[in-house]
């Protein structure tokens, strides 16, 4: 009873349109949403219903929400959409879309908006940072210095030059193209694979990732996760990359066959890896912790103050567009991705 009273309170706030909020937000974001909408907030203090029950209860209030704000942890599939038939618009704040059944949304006429380019620059910056760290051993020498080993044991082994390295980017979208632009300034040679070649760039295109790996010194995974790209970096690709090769993943853990990656690192079949994402987050293969030639982070490539505030503005922009009958700022169509 207390739970539904809470929801009713949230739903009763004036004549503003209702928005179903299914991700935690910081105070500025919450305030900005409440200024404009009646926010049915799964994470409101005192709100105790579990997610699906909350969604069903929200669907039952007078003037139920027609739009929802979600993140990567919310699966938008047939059963989700069944639970909230009033929803006509899904605004996702995640960088990827692998948690949304776009075909199902399209079948029901539910519009989907993604995060557009809000994160693209920060993810590209982080990918370059990871690559620099792996090749030049920034973190490893950091640990070395902090252990006091420099004075005791002399210099830590040198890393490897960036200039002249052939970098194979898997996915040349918003993120991949920014990575390419940055690495060109370091003298890297850019190769890429994507669904189709891009006429607007002069980088060398490879029709499949195996061939890309065979002619690259570095592989950067910057593509979406879908049926076609699951384990797109597999054992064969790692072998083609070769023992001096380095892998950087700022896409999704499942883009890489993680078990094979660990084996390849353990056996020296590749030279190193920079990984921000893993197949079964928050689990990270413990074997990686003792490797000096890997750099690891817990899915932080998007986490800057700047992209947090850009995300706020962008999400509200999409919601306002929807509620005023305007086209979404960053609509996603089911046929725009191979699903």
């Amino acid at each position: 009873v207390v739970a539904t009273l809470k929801l009713a309170t949230m739903a009763a706030a004036g004549g503003k349109p209702a928005v179903l909020l299914l991700r935690p937000v910081d105070a500025p974001f919450a305030a900005a949403l409440r200024d404009r909408f009646r926010v049915l907030d799964l994470y409101a203090p005192g709100q105790a219903l579990p997610a699906l029950a909350f969604v069903a209860a929200a669907a039952a209030v007078p003037e139920p929400p027609r739009a929802t704000v979600i993140w990567g942890g919310v699966r938008v599939d047939a059963s989700f959409l069944d639970a909230a038939p009033s929803l006509r618009c899904v605004v996702s704040t995640a960088a990827g879309l692998d948690h949304i059944d776009l075909a199902e949304c399209a079948r029901r006429g539910v519009a989907v908006a993604n995060s557009g380019e809000v994160y693209s620059t920060d993810v590209a910056d982080y990918a370059v940072g990871l690559l620099l760290d792996v090749l030049r051993r920034v973190s490893a020498s950091e640990r070395y210095v902090r252990r006091g080993s420099w004075a005791a044991q002399g210099d830590y082994p040198l890393g490897s030059k960036l200039g002249g390295k052939r970098v194979g980017i898997i996915g040349l979208g918003n993120i991949g193209s920014r990575i390419a632009k940055r690495l060109e300034a370091f003298g890297c040679i850019i190769h890429y694979n994507s669904r189709k070649p891009k006429d607007s760039v002069s980088y060398k295109y490879f029709p499949n990732v195996h061939e890309l790996a065979a002619e690259s010194d570095v592989l950067v995974v910057a593509c979406a996760l879908n049926k076609a790209t699951r384990h797109i970096v597999n054992k064969d690709v790692l072998e083609a990359l070769g023992k001096d090769g380095v892998v950087v993943n700022i896409g999704r853990g499942a883009n890489i066959d993680e078990a094979e990656l660990v084996i390849a690192l353990r056996e020296g079949k590749i030279a190193g890896a920079g990984l921000d994402v893993f197949e079964h987050e928050p689990k990270v293969p413990a074997e990686l912790f003792s490797m000096e030639n890997v750099v690891l982070s817990r899915h932080v490539a998007v986490l800057t103050e700047e992209s947090r505030s850009d995300l706020r503005a962008h999400t509200i922009g999409n919601l306002e567009a929807f509620f005023s009958g305007q086209p979404l700022l960053t609509p996603v169509h089911a046929d725009s991705l191979a699903q």
Partner: protein
């Protein structure tokens, strides 16, 4: 490169300290060597060139035992370990590694910058300690692209740092002894003003009497509490005790340091700080660059001994 001369015609090159094995092997066919500390009087009298490998101190006294000396060839970029006043007053030429290391140093400066701003190294420590879901939200970091970057010293290294950061959409300005007309970035005559207008200060200039401790409290206060200092130049460019105070007090936001005033001694206080990234004077070197340095050294020595212009002479 020309074929090496027959053994007894090889010119004599005095060594300030023993060469690294790779250098020794590459140079053995071209020159005769004598080690300064062990040289007999005949060698000391004959030597017209002194090859300084590594960073040993080369003083007026050392130079004083070489009456025929005309060239001091260094394998490093910075030459503050050589008494340049003594070289100047004797009319000696001094050469350094030229641009052989420039790309690597610039790459590393950017690597340090990203590592500090985006906490790459700290994130790695975090994951390796097994912490993820257990510890709740990870702190937000700050965007690299678009930051205002002030580069101190727009030489071979600084200009390459600028080019790389321009590709990140950073707004680059610089300070140096004099403006570089061909540089597409704004020149700022006073270091303090550069710091005041920057989010990040990158040090890539030589250490001289004028630049010693140029980054002092005043400059760091101008850089400000979100500001980051990246040093791939020399430790002596920064007042190190003051740097520690400024970091501790939050006068500046963080630092990426490859060099220190008394290497390999790293102030213990730095080891406890999370907002700094530390390395062991490695910016300059990759195995690929060692080949590049050899080329520069050989080019300078060959040019000297055949009376041609030096490849990477320094202005003294």
């Amino acid at each position: 490169m020309a074929a090496p001369p027959p053994a007894d015609e090889r010119p004599l090159v005095m060594l300030a300290q023993a060469l690294f094995p790779e250098f020794a092997a590459a140079l053995a066919g071209r020159y005769r060597f004598a080690l300064l500390a062990d040289a007999d009087a005949a060698a000391a009298d004959e030597a017209r060139a002194l090859l300084v490998g590594g960073l040993p101190r080369v003083t007026a006294q050392h130079l004083g035992v070489l009456p025929a000396l005309k060239l001091v060839a260094c394998t490093s970029v910075g030459v503050d370990h050589v008494d340049l006043d003594a070289c100047r007053s004797r009319g000696l030429s001094v050469t350094n590694a030229g641009a052989a290391f420039a790309a690597d140093s610039a790459d590393y400066a950017v690597g340090l910058l990203v590592a500090v701003l985006r906490r790459v190294a700290a994130a790695d420590v975090y994951v390796r300690s097994g912490r993820w879901a257990a510890d709740g939200d990870y702190p937000l970091t700050t965007k690299v692209s678009g930051k205002r970057v002030g580069i101190v010293g727009l030489g071979n290294i600084g200009s390459r740092v600028a080019r790389r950061l321009a590709a990140f959409g950073c707004a680059v300005s610089y300070h140096s002894r004099s403006p570089k007309p061909s540089a597409p970035y704004p020149f700022v005559p006073a270091l303090r003003d550069l710091a005041a207008g920057s989010d990040v200060l990158v040090l890539s200039c030589a250490l001289t009497d004028e630049t010693k401790h140029m980054v002092n409290r005043d400059v760091m206060e101008a850089l400000g509490k979100g500001g980051v200092l990246v040093n791939v130049g020399r430790g002596g460019l920064v007042d190190e005790p003051e740097l520690l105070r400024c970091l501790r007090q939050g006068v500046i936001g963080g630092a990426g340091l490859d060099v220190y005033e008394n290497e390999p001694a790293v102030p213990p206080e730095l080891l406890a700080m999370e907002n700094v990234v530390l390395s062991d004077h490695r910016a300059v070197l990759t195995p690929e660059s060692i080949g590049g340095v050899l080329e520069v050294v050989i080019a300078n020595l060959d040019a000297f001994f055949s009376g041609r212009p030096l490849v990477s002479p320094m202005e003294l």
